[in-house]
């Protein structure tokens, strides 16, 4: 009994391991030495046998050996395959020839080409969407960065409009409804008509949605800062008249999308459109249920809150982005999606399980116990769509990994997919009752939401934007600054989430241990500092992203000095005709 107890003590276990290391090492050395001794002995015998054999060789055998020795001495001169003609590239196959001696510190990646399939007017609409989403990203994360600083320096200002409680929802809502939503719908305006092989029915409706959503986020942010909010459920802080603007915007565009799909010239409805249209239908249902202004007294509010906040994430952002991924990933890899059926399976199981998991934000609360259990079971069920989706994307990548090196967009896709797997399964793990005990109410949740909303959604959207915009404008951002954007964002995210998860796990354990509350606040200080550091890197990467976007749209293209044969001849012909016409 005593022994069993001792063995469960960490200190004892660690000591035992430490002691066993030199003992085991000594034993290994003895074994190795013995083996070597035996091997030496064997070798000696073998060598003696050879000497015996060598002495007994006859003339015929010696002749054969001599002949083989001469054969082995043959060497190539190095010019056996040389042709007799001058080198030519009659099919124009060679390009980008560079000297082997050139020092290439940053490898050159493949360039994007302008798309032939999108009209100028549609391109303009999409750029308006993406442009305003970029502005909301920079605004929203500037606010987020400031909030992160407030954890380290709470007395940085004493303005009511800038106080923590008011700014926090400004940050979350503007990156949700401003950045991610506008970017998604904008990309949807490219994908829906493309996979339907039909023009978009109405461009005007597109602009209506754009204006309504921008207005909603603008008014929402101002009202939150002025202290007008809906009563404190996360992502439900805008009052309903402001959120209604968003809802009407989505209604207008979903009608537009469905009408476009109805006029499609393809037989099937491509799976991207399943995801996109469903995401839009579901976000309307969610907003309608959560914002209907005549119910939700008492605990009803909390039950609806759990449902709303999680469906908002999973049925709007995740579903929409998956739809976009089913288009852009095959497009970028230039091959079809690995399995269409897996995409279909993931679609239905996502609806089935995701809808159930809302109340896992209120485990152990006064919400009915059965509802909490349903949420936990649903969270476990999420493994199916997540594994199906990730497997599908990864197997689409298979055989094309080499493209990752040569592309500046694919790394964004890959990070998005990897976080889709880890971030979503982390959510499942957090929902279990025991882990919930440690992590609930701590900053672990904040880290998780950044791993998902940032690691999955934002990285995917960046990948899509860097893919699409050059196709619309014919201009690219410098590969160098896109690379810096990628690495700053990724490293920043790691600095942000890693320490926060570590610190809040310990904080949760301290709570369980009964440590005075204020000591657990003091304990978090260094982790909050790391969060601010990571947040700053992320924030800086967004400024770079804004700059890249600006270049992709507005960069003045210098007239190119002709270099290839075709260009030189064209330019010369032009010059000659100009000369002729001026002489006339």
């Amino acid at each position: 009994m005593e022994n069993v107890q001792l063995l469960s003590e960490w200190g004892i276990l660690i000591t035992l391991v430490l002691i066993s290391i030199p003992v085991l090492t000594a034993a290994l050395i003895v074994i190795a030495k013995t083996k070597k001794l035996i091997a030496d002995l064997r070798h000696k015998r073998e060598f003696e046998a050879f000497q015996e054999y060598a002495r007994g060789l006859d003339a015929k055998e010696l002749e054969l050996l001599q002949k083989r020795k001469e054969e082995l001495a043959f060497k190539l001169q190095g010019n056996e395959l040389k042709g007799r003609q001058e080198p030519r590239d009659s099919r124009g196959m060679l390009g980008e020839i560079s000297e082997a001696e050139e020092l290439r510190f940053i490898p050159k990646k493949q360039r994007e080409e302008q798309s032939l399939y999108v009209s100028k007017d549609l391109a303009k609409l999409i750029l308006w969407y993406l442009g305003s989403s970029v502005i909301w990203l920079i605004f929203g994360t500037t606010v987020g960065e400031y909030l992160g600083i407030k954890f380290v320096a709470p007395d940085i200002d004493h303005e009511s409009w800038l106080s923590f409680g008011r700014l926090r929802p400004v940050h979350t809502n503007s990156v949700f409804w401003g950045w991610a939503s506008l970017a998604m719908i904008g990309l949807g305006y490219y994908v829906v008509p493309r996979v339907s092989n039909a023009p978009i029915v109405s461009l005007k409706k597109g602009y209506h949605t754009l204006v309504l959503i921008n207005l909603s986020v603008l008014l929402g942010s101002l009202s939150l800062m002025a202290g007008i909010n809906n009563g404190g459920g996360e992502y439900r802080e805008y009052v309903w008249p402001i959120m209604a603007l968003f809802g009407v915007g989505v209604i207008i565009s979903i009608i537009n999308f469905i009408q476009t799909i109805a006029t499609r010239t393809t037989k099937e409805v491509y799976v991207s459109n399943w995801y996109i249209v469903s995401a839009m239908m579901f976000v309307l249902v969610i907003a309608f249920v959560a914002y209907w202004p005549t119910w939700q007294n008492g605990l009803g509010e909390t039950i609806v809150q759990g449902y709303y906040m999680h469906q908002g994430v999973g049925m709007w952002f995740m579903l929409f982005c998956l739809g976009l991924m089913y288009f852009f990933l095959p497009h970028q890899l230039n091959k079809p999606i690995y399995s269409y059926s897996l995409g279909v399976l993931a679609f239905w199981t996502q609806i089935l399980f995701y809808t159930l998991i809302g109340t896992h934000h209120f485990i152990f609360s006064a919400i009915p116990w059965w509802l909490q259990t349903v949420a936990i079971v649903g969270s476990a069920g999420m493994v199916i769509p997540v594994v199906a989706g990730t497997t599908n994307f990864m197997l689409t990548f298979k055989g094309n990994w080499y493209k990752l090196r040569g592309s500046y967009t694919l790394p964004f896709y890959l990070v998005g997919i990897v976080f889709y797997f880890t971030g979503s399964l982390q959510g499942t793990a957090e929902a279990f009752r025991y882990t919930n005990l440690i992590w609930h109410f701590t900053d672990f949740t904040v880290a998780h939401s950044h791993l998902t909303m940032y690691g999955i959604i934002t990285f995917m959207l960046w990948g899509f934007i860097y893919t699409l915009v050059p196709r619309l404008t014919g201009k690219e951002a410098p590969q160098m600054s896109i690379g810096v954007h990628f690495w700053l964002a990724l490293i920043g995210l790691m600095f942000y989430t890693g320490p926060l998860m570590f610190g809040s796990t310990l904080r949760g354990l301290m709570w369980m241990d009964g440590t005075p509350f204020i000591e657990t606040v003091e304990f978090m200080a260094p982790f909050w500092l790391w969060r601010a550091v990571g947040g700053s890197l992320m924030w800086f990467s967004h400024i770079l992203f804004g700059y890249n976007f600006y270049l992709m749209v507005f960069k003045k293209v210098r007239e190119k000095v002709p270099q290839s044969a075709t260009e030189i001849l064209e330019a010369r012909e032009k010059l000659v005709t100009e000369q002729l016409s001026s002489q006339l």
Binding site: P154, G232, S278, V289, T355, A366, W511, M512
Partner: protein, 336 residues
């Protein structure tokens, strides 16, 4: 498959599945909870001032860091006497057509839970100073300062509630700091937050995941006494400060205090259990011991910590002494 090629059927199917699930996991349970729960019999609706205070609480987004829910797990025991139940929230209704009902249960506990804060921290002076500058009372707090809820006046008027702020937080301000109506309302709301007791005969749910008490801690005699320093941090330090020096003009020092060092243990225990209001230059002390349900062992540990820290050097008291006094207090208060 034909079904997948017909966008109407396809979207309708997805939509219906989602609606059905929504009905069963959100709408029906929400309606059921809304219809079938009533506030507890001893529930009193918020007064006009408390309601204004709640609006201010909502408006300033306090729920971002403060929860109002006691979960049925052992670690939440410090926030209330029993786990929260649906009836606790049944009195919360929509304030108007424009805004949702705010149960304010919250999802983040960056700061402490407030379910029972009216009982735990009922001092008006402490709350006002804490709102004006949290770090004046809790040096390592990261809570925002709510300075805009206070006015600066050359001269006090009648009914003005002045807030005494330690000089290092005044930044040379000479005028008087007066709590605005909004600040008073907000504190009124915080003071109204008390967990109601269940009607007699009703048994509260158990707290789950109890801490396992190892044999070691029960067998050793020295370990059976609670940790006085931890208890002091949780129950006393927010006013008297970790260094025992209190705050000038608000909370008296315990370092060198005649009551702490003196021999009148009965007075000392009485102050801890029932509060104190004998000195006009300091704020009223609330009945910390009774409110927080401190046991005789815990009170003894706190007293001994105070008598032997920060240069204080008085003899320790015994649990028996303290227990006798507390029994007497309970006896007299029950007779009232």
């Amino acid at each position: 498959m034909e079904f997948f090629n017909d966008h109407k059927k396809l979207f309708l199917a997805a939509f219906s599945l989602f609606i059905v699930l929504t009905l069963f996991v959100a709408i029906f349970p929400a309606i059921e909870n809304q219809e079938n729960n009533q506030p507890l019999p001893n529930y009193k609706p918020l007064t006009a001032s408390e309601l204004r205070g709640k609006n201010s609480f909502v408006s300033n987004g306090c729920v971002a860091c403060h929860t109002q829910q006691v979960r049925n797990v052992e670690m939440d025991k410090i926030w209330g006497e029993r786990p929260g139940i649906a009836a606790d929230y049944a009195g919360v209704e929509r304030p108007d057509f424009w805004r949702n009902s705010a149960t304010l249960m919250g999802t983040e506990r960056t700061g402490p839970d407030l379910t029972n804060v009216g009982k735990r921290q009922p001092s008006m002076a402490w709350n006002l100073l804490h709102l004006y500058q949290p770090r004046a009372v809790v040096p390592t707090s990261v809570m925002p300062s709510y300075k805009w809820l206070f006015e600066l006046k050359e001269k006090l008027e009648e009914d003005d509630v002045e807030v005494i702020v330690p000089s290092e937080f005044l930044q040379g301000e000479q005028r008087k700091i007066v709590a605005s109506q909004e600040a008073l309302d907000l504190v009124a709301y915080l003071q109204s937050l008390k967990q109601l007791s269940l009607p007699t005969g009703e048994v509260a749910d158990d707290f789950l995941y109890k801490k396992e008490i190892s044999e070691e801690s029960t067998s050793g005699l020295s370990l059976s006494m609670p940790d006085g320093e931890l208890l002091y941090t949780s129950n006393c330090a927010s006013c008297h400060q970790a260094n025992g020096e209190g705050l000038k003009g608000a909370f008296p020092p315990l370092k060198g205090s005649s009551i702490v060092l003196g021999d009148d243990i009965e007075l000392f225990v009485n102050i801890i259990m029932l509060g104190y209001d004998a000195r006009p230059e300091y704020a009223v002390m609330s009945a910390v011991g009774t409110n927080n349900d401190l046991s005789p062992e815990e009170v003894t540990a706190i007293i001994n910590h105070e008598r032997t820290s920060w240069g204080n050097d008085a003899s320790k008291v015994t649990v028996e002494e303290v227990k006798q006094i507390i029994d007497f207090i309970q006896l007299t208060s029950n007779n009232e």
